[in-house]
Amino acid sequence: MSTTIIEVREAPVELTLRQRWSHYFAIIYAILAVIIGINLRDTALYATVPYSNPQVGITAFYPNHWLIDNSGNYVFRVRDMSQTGFKTAMQVNIIPINQDMTTRNILETLILNRSQTDSTFRVLSQEPIQLSDGTEATQMRSTFVASDEDPFLESIPTVVERLDVIAVQGGQAIIISFLSDAQTFESNYPRFEQFLNDIDF
């Protein structure tokens, strides 16, 4: 005995060519919009402002909306004031050196000074690098703990990661530093990379 199965289905609704293209155009628009969105993001995130100091011979491009100040013991410093907690900063400093000093001497001096003034200072690594214009330099990664300057805020101290790039040129050492909350260091690092690539001294 054989069993016959009768399957009852509704007739499929055929889409017209116009309806198909309507859907494709919607998808294409969404893809294009995402590309435009990413482009807008990059334009805004990586927008820079030129900085020039003919006295020390430095030209740099720092991130738009960052606060610049040159009143400290550095040539200039820029900080991202929109960040909560520790403000990500990039600073450029110039130290006159004598002919006999090497990068190693400068590094040791920096480590000695910082260790004496900050008990939380720790060196993580030192390695030679080459800047985008071919200049030989040395980079040093270190950490320290930053507390809020206002004791009444009762905030938890932040572990800060610091990257110093030291290049010796024309009888002076140029120290380009990047300071960021250790938790956001990697995400903020591309800004510093761009800053380092654009700086001219």
């Binding site: 889409l15 116009r18 969404a30 919009a33 995402v34 990413i38 993001r41 805004a44 909306h65």
Partner: protein, 300 residues
């Protein structure tokens, strides 16, 4: 002799019963009650200076976030069962949109666009464009794709189906936006109340645009670019809404001090929703009338 009473007016023509649930009245009732609840919570919290914390606050916040979903279940989903020809996939559309928003759209948009890092610092026009091409498009395409792949074309039997399904998608997406806002921002109760309304109103206004586009594509023969244009306008509504509402709500800097004006934001969301709703309802009515006239013209 016949006892039948004769009147000079013709006998009443028996109207054919409309077999589908009417989508617009449900939406109006839901949004009106939601507005009342949110404004009520805002004033009660402000006037009585209620400051909840811990578990009681979490319970009240969760209840507030559930209000739009509950209203939609009561006035749309449950009333659907009373219709002669109910729409079967409303709940599926709502849940899939909610899950897609949580699992794909919101995390992907946050990771890809990082809007909180750059958009708040931009000027008004850039912010409108920025939100349009990032979060706006992400939300619009999510709602569109869910409705398209869940119900299109068979689920759209009449134009009102499009409104009903996109309204379901908007409820799902707005619910997930509200949950993320509650969990990530830990807002005060009055702020959450008005944000819940704003998210729902914006999401609904966007869905009206998408609903009109898809209904036209299904029942008329518009240009193939129409759906794309409606998607773009829908995203633009999001961009304009977020930017302009933010500008109205946040207090400006002044020597006299500044204070946030959340009720301006509420008024803006309401006006936006009503304006978009009236325009789209007019377009729907015009399209339906055009269709009826075309059918009458073709009748022998």
């Amino acid at each position: 002799m016949s006892s039948r009473t004769r009147t000079i007016t013709p006998d009443e023509i028996e109207q054919e019963r409309y077999p589908f649930r009417r989508a617009w009245p449900s939406i109006i009732v839901e949004i009106a009650i939601l507005a009342g609840v949110c404004v009520g919570v805002y004033f009660i919290t402000r006037l009585l200076n209620i400051q909840l914390s811990g578990l009681p606050l979490s319970i009240v916040e969760a209840a507030l976030i559930a209000v739009p979903v509950i209203l939609w279940i009561v006035f749309s989903l449950m009333r659907e069962q009373a219709a002669d020809l109910p729409r079967f996939r409303l709940l599926i559309v709502m849940i899939i949109t909610l899950l897609a928003a949580n699992a794909v759209t919101i995390p992907a948009a946050d990771a890809l666009f990082q809007t909180s890092d750059w958009l708040p610092h931009e000027a008004t026009i850039q912010r409108i464009l920025g939100y349009t091409f990032t979060l706006g498009v992400a939300q619009a395409i999510t709602q569109y794709l869910v409705v398209y792949y869940c119900v299109y074309p068979r689920g759209l039997r009449v134009r009102a189906d499009s409104i009903a399904y996109f309204a379901a998608a908007s409820v799902g997406y707005a619910a997930m936006l509200n949950i993320h806002f509650m969990l990530n921002s830990t807002p005060a109760l009055d702020v959450l109340a008005l944000t819940v309304f704003a998210n729902q109103a914006t999401s609904l206004a966007m869905s009206f645009m998408l609903a009109f586009g898809l209904a036209e594509v299904r029942f008329a023969s518009p240009t193939p670019f129409l759906m794309m244009i409606m998607l773009a306008l829908s995203a633009l509504i999001f961009g304009a809404s977020v930017t302009l509402r933010g500008g109205l709500v946040n207090g400006g800097f002044s020597l006299l001090g500044s204070e946030a004006s959340p009720l301006y934001g509420f008024a803006f969301s309401t006006i936006l929703l009503v304006a978009v709703g009236v325009v789209i309802a007019f377009f729907f009515r015009t399209a339906e009338r055009r269709e009826e006239e075309a059918a009458l013209a073709q009748a022998p």
